[in-house]
């Protein structure tokens, strides 16, 4: 699947394999039906003296091609619901909650800071810049100040709308350090295209060091590191 971007969250591989399973099922259905369509078109083209077969259908075939797709589709639904439940229904316990507040056209990223409490004086507040540690599940609390935005991190396969009037929690556990992009996936106005954030996934040590340094900076009345 070389079109899919790199996956660097614990669940990205689950999503990619679900994608691959569906690609196989639909791919086989695609090849089968398109082949029949072209083959029949070729084989049964009009020829002098050959009359079409007079038939109104076949009850057994109707049953087969109703039941087989139904079973396959319900299997796909069942398999998907397991992955879904792991990603969006159940959120694991996390040490940290990061609040992301979207507005036209900015991602505000807020960490609890030294006191461990959100929405307090010593919060670390960044704009369009998010830092996460490798190997630890993090809860991301999404809010919006104005219109609907959608928090999209392609490498995590994570997408969730941020809706005014609602607080929506998602979670992610990054698996690889690096610099990635955050995009807005829901049309939010003329600046939609430029609502881009940077995501830096750090090794745990580097992350802790960054948190410490930022806390010191904020305590001294400066912006985070």
């Amino acid at each position: 699947m070389h079109w899919l971007p790199e996956g660097v969250s614990t669940y990205s591989a689950n999503i990619d394999s679900m994608f691959t399973i569906i690609l196989w099922v639909t791919g086989i259905a695609f090849v089968l039906t398109e082949t029949l369509l072209f083959a029949f078109s070729w084989m049964y083209r009009r020829r002098e003296g050959v009359r079409a077969t007079y038939t109104h259908g076949n009850g057994r075939l109707e049953v087969i091609w109703t039941v087989v797709p139904a079973v396959l589709l319900l299997f796909l639904a069942f398999a998907s619901s397991n992955v879904w439940s792991k990603i969006k229904v159940h959120i694991p316990t996390t040490r940290e909650t990061i609040v992301v507040t979207a507005s036209q056209f900015n991602w505000e990223v807020r960490y609890a800071g030294a006191d461990g409490k959100l929405d307090s004086e010593d919060d670390l507040v960044l704009n369009n810049d998010m830092r996460l540690p490798v190997g630890e599940p993090v809860r991301i609390r999404l809010r919006s100040k104005d219109v609907i935005h959608s928090f999209f991190v392609p490498v995590f396969r994570l997408k969730q709308d941020a809706v005014p009037g609602m607080t929506i929690d998602v979670w992610v556990q990054p698996t690889k350090a690096g610099v990635y992009e955050i995009a807005c996936a829901e049309l939010c106005g003329f600046g939609h295209t430029s609502m881009r954030g940077q995501l830096t996934v750090l090794e745990p040590d580097a992350y802790d060091a960054w948190i410490k340094e930022s806390e010191t900076n904020v305590a001294a009345g400066n912006p985070p590191a």
Partner: protein, 580 residues
């Protein structure tokens, strides 16, 4: 021509006509006109995405405010794609399927002289026209046309400050309300006409699948469109009267809009495809010279799609903040709705199997419908899966899917239908060679345009962004975006062939016989074009519309109004006798 028709003054005959055929043709012309506008807007969208750095050819013709030195600003880009989708959906696909073909075909195919309510029918068209003009004219207001996508999600659409668009968005809402009203008027008419005015012998299960599809579509329109009207009304009140239906500050619910909008718009997706499925079924049978395979399964699957279509709307909202458990149930219903679509596809394959296929342009377009509908149907399964949707939602994968269904499906269905019924509508034949070339080029460039969008979506390319190169991870995809744009421009240019053929054939086409395709349904019993009142005498129906290649009948077709000669089966399809 009857005596009556001669006396009708021009304005009553061609403009304020109550004749369902004239109204159908009026809807056809209106839709084709808006299709040109919608198509040109699509070309502009593609130019911007393929070449965001380059000035658009002829771009300097636009006011500097919209396109400074021919470059499209993001504000104008948002308006352009919003209007492309809105025009194509509300002013092209829905009116051309239900308005044009529904009007023209319903009375003719069931053997009636006109619609049940001819004046309401006329009103339906003359309400739709100002709706369309209202939408299109919003481009010329001070702050431009609506720029919130065809889905118009609040709060973006509810508060003018969020987009800077003032009158344009309100006009858009008004236009949607008006064309919705027109389509409700049409739906009432189709339902009443089909239930009450069928010719003697035309049992429900002797109706062509085109009529079944239009009938069920009308029911969908009647039940779903009022919900759209209410949600648009609420949005308009939020914008203009200061209500807070969708504004959290006043205790409103943002997501309620999406629930109501998709409660209409998902059935609307089927409003936009079911009629085409009906046309294609009739065309495949006619040019395969073979009865439709599994007639009753086909009719029931239309009903199945329509019924299930009302309980799948939440699949548009998996990532919206709706309770994720609800997402799971919507996933299950969405997977199930693929079953009737699969049934239809297999029955179409069964129909051409062991046929005697004539590759007219109508047939080629119908086969293309099946071929592209398979792709669009199968790609839908990806987004039905909630976790996969989390990644591909709001990406070009969705754009690819919707265009495979609406262009690949509905529009190829429309091309097939125009090719097929043109002789009946205008009494002249279109040039087959030109339309065959048009078909081949359209099919090729359609696929080259839209298939690669699946790859863009897989790479995470968001939809509705004005400049893909703004993101590092999308930069490597820019050559593919350019490739798509070039193919899209050719696809657009190729349509000139069809438009030219359409217009020239009106005057120079070969005169059409009553039944040029040797088809069975009742519209072919009437003269081409049918006069006011349609039939010399109302035909009596003896069997279903798909009696092709009946053993014991010399010709390979047996019209519905002609009894089977002694010994030959006179078939009304049913599942119990459906054995090969």
């Amino acid at each position: 021509m009857s005596e009556h028709a001669h006396k009708t003054p021009f304005i009553r005959k061609y403009i304020f006509s109550t004749d369902h055929k004239v109204i159908g043709i009026q809807f056809l012309m209106m839709s084709l006109f808006f299709m040109i506008i919608g198509g040109l807007l699509a070309m502009m969208v593609r130019w911007q995405l393929g070449f965001p750095e380059k000035a658009m050819p002829l771009g300097t013709l636009f006011p500097d405010k919209l396109m400074p030195e021919g470059h499209m600003g993001p504000e104008f880009y948002n308006a352009v794609f919003t209007m492309h989708a809105s025009i194509m959906i509300f002013l092209v696909i829905i009116p051309i399927l239900a308005g044009a073909f529904g009007n023209f075909l319903v009375p003719l195919m069931i053997g009636a002289r006109d619609m049940a309510y001819p004046k309401l029918n006329m009103l339906s068209f003359w309400v739709a026209v100002p709706g369309g003009l209202l939408m299109a004219s919003s481009f010329f207001t001070d702050t431009g046309a609506a720029a919130t996508g065809w889905t118009a999600y609040p709060p973006l659409s509810a508060v003018a400050d969020y987009t800077g668009v003032t009158a344009g968005q309100s006009m858009w809402i008004g236009a949607v309300l008006i064309v919705g009203t027109a389509s409700i008027m049409g739906a009432v008419n189709y339902i009443t006409t089909i239930i009450n005015m069928r010719a003697p012998g035309m049992h429900l299960f002797r109706m062509p699948l085109t009529i079944w599809a239009l009938f069920i579509t009308a029911i969908l329109q009647l039940l779903a469109t009022p919900v759209l009207a209410s949600v648009m009304g609420m949005l308009l009140f939020d914008r203009t009267l200061g209500t807070h239906f969708f504004a959290p500050v006043g205790g409103g619910q943002v997501l309620m809009f999406q629930h109501m909008f998709w409660f209409y718009s998902h059935p609307a997706v089927y409003i936009m495809i079911l009629p085409a499925m009906g046309f294609v079924s009739d065309i495949l049978a006619t040019f395969s010279r073979k009865p439709i395979f599994g007639y009753k399964a086909m009719a029931f699957s239309i009903m199945g799609i329509a019924g299930l279509g009302f309980i799948v709307w939440g699949h548009h909202m998996f990532q919206s903040g709706m309770n994720p458990l609800l997402g799971t149930t919507f996933m299950a219903s969405t997977m199930v709705i693929a079953v009737p679509s699969a049934i239809k596809t297999f029955n179409w394959l069964g129909t051409i199997w062991r046929g005697s296929i004539r590759f007219t342009p109508a047939m080629l377009n119908a086969l293309a419908f099946v071929s592209t509908f398979i792709v669009g149907g199968l790609s839908g399964i990806f987004m039905a899966s909630t976790p996969v949707d989390m990644f591909i939602h709001d990406t070009y994968f969705i754009v690819a899917h919707i265009h495979y269904v609406l262009f690949g499906g509905s529009l190829f269905g429309v091309f097939a239908a125009i090719n097929y019924w043109y002789p009946k509508m205008f009494g002249r034949m279109m040039n087959e060679a030109v339309n065959t070339v048009h078909f081949i080029l359209t099919f090729i460039f359609f696929n080259l345009t839209f298939f690669p969008m699946h790859m863009l979506g897989m790479a995470g390319h968001m939809r509705r962004i004005a400049d893909p190169t703004a993101y590092d991870f999308l930069k490597p995809l820019q050559p593919l975006n350019e490739f798509i744009t070039i193919n899209a421009l050719i696809l657009g240019a190729v349509q000139v062939l069809f438009a030219g053929n359409f217009i020239i054939s009106l005057f120079a086409g070969k005169k059409a016989e009553r039944n040029p395709w040797h088809a069975n349904s009742l519209e072919w019993v009437a003269p081409s074009p049918p006069p006011h009142g349609n039939f010399e005498t109302i035909p009596t129906v003896y069997h279903g519309p798909y009696e092709f290649s009946v053993p014991g009948v010399v010709e390979d077709y047996l019209p519905q109004d002609r009894p089977a000669p002694g010994g030959a089966p006179s078939h009304t399809p049913s599942l119990s006798t459906a054995r090969a």
